[in-house]
Amino acid sequence: MVEFDAVSKVYEDGTRAVDALDLSIAKGEFAVLIGPSGCGKTTSLKMINRLEECTEGRILVDGKDIQDVDPVTLRRNIGYVVQDIALMPHLSVGENIATVPRLLGWKKAKIAGRVDELLAMAGLEPKKYRYRLPDQLSGGQKQRIGVLRALAADPDVILMDEPFGALDPLSRDKLQSELLEMQKAVQKTIVFVTHDMDEALKMADKVILMRRGRIEQMGSPEEIQENPASDFVRNFLGEDRLAQITPDMGIESLVQDPYLRVLATQKAAAVLDQMEDLNLDTAQVVDDKGKWVGMVVPRRAKALARDGGTIAKAVRKDRRLNIEEATISDAAAMLADMDLPVPVLDGRGHLLGIVDSSGIARLAIGRLCRKGGETR
């Protein structure tokens, strides 16, 4: 359906944005272009509807060399969702969606019907939203309208350039699922650009990982994950996944071994000594079966140490996380409350490890580094 045959793009300033790209996307396939910023994703996409002309090679859409098709005709037959949505602010939602049908000269009644149908499909009540202005929509709704606008004239091929890039993780997730649902029903050929590996793995039939204008690896999400072709791919999978962690994900990735784990039967004085040696403010107490007993409260432990009691009585039990339920934001909230490691338990009450602020810091750093490295 969409084929790249040794396609290169050299911009006037000499930038080789795309370099001898060979690519074939089948009818009904959901292809995702992914790669670091500046690797040529947008350029590749824009060459398909001739917003950029390729300087070498050729591109076939539906078996026809696009050089032989009038660009305006070509574009009207290819849906296009732009990187920053770009709804026309002076037109109502209905008119925005109707853009391409109007260009194609559809009858009024047919257009109106189509607009309502699409709005309903996206879960937006037509009566309410038809005459809204884009400024009166939420971010997620705008994105939906952007997608509907591309679908309006029922094109076979749809290009999407980071359509959900600007959304919060929750709405993004929702829209991804909606798009997948829709794709099941309409079976379009979709070329989708993203930065986000999770998005790529979730959406794609075929992932095309690009680097400096070339394809680094191409394959199904499973293939890519199971057999990363290079360190670059591995890094990209890894770093990106770390960077994509959201506050409402589970805490598995943050759990680490406790700095100090002591048995409930140990003397309080001995535990305090150990804590002092390791320069720790607390320790986790477990019984002989690994079941968590509590977290040492040094003040109480000191009192107990004087009368030679066991550590088991100098603990608090209220501060803990259950691995099956807790989210990263729960952990962060607890740590904000008191900056001591939080014990993490499994369903049976066994101590798995702890979460402390260094784990959260690692997350934040991973994210910040990535954000800083992006140049858009």
Binding site: N77, A86, E95, G105, K108, A112
Partner: protein
């Protein structure tokens, strides 16, 4: 001579010579209207042209700026050498004088349309012409109309000077009043001129408001059908440009009759 208040004198003067005042008001409007129409017809396309040939922009805008900076009376004086005396000269001078805000606002208004929108429009398959008419001009409209408002007020104000070089308009009353030291005659020229300027400005403001996306969306919602106008591809795209010139003139020609009516009633 008995001592009469200015107001009395004014009322008496108006009551006696209102046909002449009306005639001059009409002339004033005619001069301003023609000058404005010529300005728009030249300057809006010129502004559009400049967005496509950016290198020329500083020169053209600079030149318009020069005309605008020359004192208007001096400009009228210079043009006597070209057009002789009379209304033509006045109109030519007014056009030169009013060019700057229209060119500049067309140019900046179009330039301020976000490139991403233009790119999206192109990506959906609009022709360059449709991009101009359906995206760029509508989005530039508020800035464009602001420029036209400035030009309109300037033109109506400056048209009073036409009388100085043998043209017509309300300036005649002002100049005769000055020459004969009759304040009521000055007023009979100055007040209608001021009202004209204010009314024209208000009309354009209303026009702008009528076209604002918010009122437009409300209108659409009230009228029901989604598309009030023709499909975009019919090649007789009503040009936004022509639209505006017409409506503008309509607006302008509405205002005088209003003035005349109210004035006429007051007097009789």
């Amino acid at each position: 001579m008995t001592q009469r208040s200015l107001w009395d004198l004014f009322i008496t003067y108006v009551a006696r010579s209102y046909p002449r005042i009306l005639m001059l008001t009409w002339q004033h409007l005619y001069i301003s209207g023609i000058a404005l129409a010529i300005t728009l017809v030249i300057c809006i396309p010129l502004g559009i042209y400049l967005t496509r040939n950016e290198k020329l922009a500083p020169y053209v805008i600079g030149l318009a700026n020069v005309f605008q900076t020359i004192p208007s009376l001096a400009l009228l004086g210079f043009l006597i050498f070209v057009f002789g005396i009379g209304n033509d000269n006045a109109i030519a001078a007014l056009v030169l004088y009013a060019m700057l805000p229209v060119i500049q606002n067309t140019y900046t208004g179009l330039r301020n349309v976000p490139p991403s929108l233009i790119q999206a429009a192109r990506g959906m398959g609009m022709t360059e012409r449709q991009i101009l008419l359906k995206v760029q001009l509508p989005l530039a409209r508020p800035v464009l109309i602001a420029g036209i408002r400035v030009a309109t007020v300037w033109v109506i104000g400056t048209a009073t000077l036409a009388a100085a070089i043998g043209g017509g308009g309300l300036g005649r009353l002002i100049f005769s009043g000055l020459a004969s030291i009759r304040n009521e005659v000055i007023l009979a020229g100055a007040i209608p001129a001021t009202i004209l300027a204010l009314l024209a400005d208000q009309c354009l403001k209303m026009l702008e408001n009528y076209y604002s996306p918010e009122t437009r969306a409300k209108r659409l919602a009230r009228l029901g059908p989604l598309e009030p106008d023709k499909p975009w591809d019919s090649d007789q795209d009503e040009t936004v440009l022509a639209d505006e010139t017409e409506e503008n003139e309509e607006a302008a020609s509405e205002s005088p009759s209003d003035v005349d009516k109210t004035k006429g009633e007051d007097v009789s």
